[in-house]
Symmetry: C2
Subunit: 254 residues, 2 copies
């Protein structure tokens, strides 16, 4: 059995599917894809994932993409490892409700602020002819547009809407954690990992004006519980090749 994981820095999508591998103690080959060099759009990588996006899981030649799909796959393919998905149908549905919420209403909005602060700087440091050539290689229309917008700057209206979406998410999670210890109930699941990797781990640092400790104390306590897990620690310790001054998501840059 060979398991290969193509990924970037330990944050957002790359972290989200790294955590289950570590939690389950699965041996895998780590293949680092350098986003700073646009390696995800290079020929060798697009031959593996035609959408040109990390992460990718290669399990004995079966290529699995999209983190929510990867994480359910790992549950299905390795049923003898510690489960991160409830055994009962209602529990599974609760977990999938939250996964859908994070995928559709959280991820892209935190991401927009991250791109605005970090990727925009990277994009503006590239000479414009070179930048156009890099953009042309990007397989997905949405990603091409995102890179162009990151360079020219996201609009204030879009950034304000993204902030509003993040506030809604924070309040929704805080409310849920008043009812159950984890997002989908009594058990730590892929839903917690999803919200943690895309928002929970960095929301307090990235948005000090939200006063997260005051607004969402249960979220902070939950975040610390997730961070303390050995599987999460092991995933967070994977290499970070981003320049320290640009570590908007993973470090202390703003």
């Amino acid at each position: 059995m060979t398991l290969k994981y193509y990924h970037a820095e330990p944050v957002a999508n790359s972290l989200k599917s790294m955590i289950p591998l570590k939690e389950k103690g699965l041996a895998f080959e780590s293949v680092y894809v350098d986003l700073h060099k646009f390696e995800q759009h290079s020929d060798w990588f697009v031959a593996i994932n035609p959408e040109g996006q990390v992460p990718v899981l290669d399990h004995d030649g079966a290529i699995i993409t999209h983190t929510t799909v990867i994480n359910e796959y790992v549950e299905d393919a390795f049923p003898d490892t510690p489960p991160l998905r409830p055994a009962d149908p209602v529990g599974k549905a609760r977990m999938r409700y939250w996964n859908k919420f994070v995928d559709e209403h959280v991820m892209n909005f935190v991401s927009m602020h991250g791109w605005h602060r970090m990727v925009g700087i990277i994009a503006r440091n590239i000479e414009s002819g070179e930048f156009l050539k890099l953009v042309e290689r990007i397989p997905l229309h949405e990603q091409r547009e995102k890179w162009k917008t990151a360079r020219s700057g996201f609009s204030e209206a879009d950034l304000a809407n993204a902030t509003r979406k993040i506030e809604v998410a924070v309040d929704k999670v805080e409310d849920q954690l008043g009812k159950t210890p984890w997002l989908a109930g009594d058990m730590y699941t892929l839903a917690d990992i999803n919200f943690y990797a895309h928002c929970g781990m960095m929301v307090e640092r990235m948005f000090p004006e939200m006063e997260i400790a005051k607004r969402a104390p249960r979220l902070v306590e939950w975040r610390d519980r997730v961070t303390a897990r050995p599987g999460v620690q092991a995933a967070l310790e994977m290499p970070d090749h981003t320049a320290p001054g640009l570590r908007t998501w993973t470090g202390h840059a703003r």
Copy 2:
């Protein structure tokens, strides 16, 4: 065991979770929610689903929302019925890849054209004070905005982008059907039902300028195979209370 399904007309989301119930021969109580009277935002319904959206599945008191989540739930809760999800992990991942694609890159874009043509007419027929009161009752911010935009009219740029997204989806499905008989492989699955309910069943009729029969002949043949299934027929025969002149999705209005 009691199974209750709250739904509107047999199209889009309401159809998408009706088909599995019919395919599996599950006995359920049908509760019609009248969207023409904004019943989905009424107190009695919001008490069941705080998000104010159909459909909802109530299984012995467990409330399941969001059609992709409902459909996986029905697979998990009734394992002895004919499966609509592959048994092997890779097959499941292929199905979920397509479900995610339809949920995030297809559904809202066909929906925008449907709203533009049909819901816009309904919204403009309501006196503006009354309309504002109706909108205030809508729980989700995104839905409030969608109703307001439907009344004032979607922008040409948004409609053109939606058309582009639908064309990308049609070409992607056509390409996949050149490789496998169904979207996720050799088996008819929830992925086929998802694309059918949100796009496949009506795309040729709603967008004649796309020349679907010429552009995507395999999609047309696949659509006819899905339509011919007795479970799909039974779901399509559920009552349609939309005025015939407004049946943009379910009938022949444009």
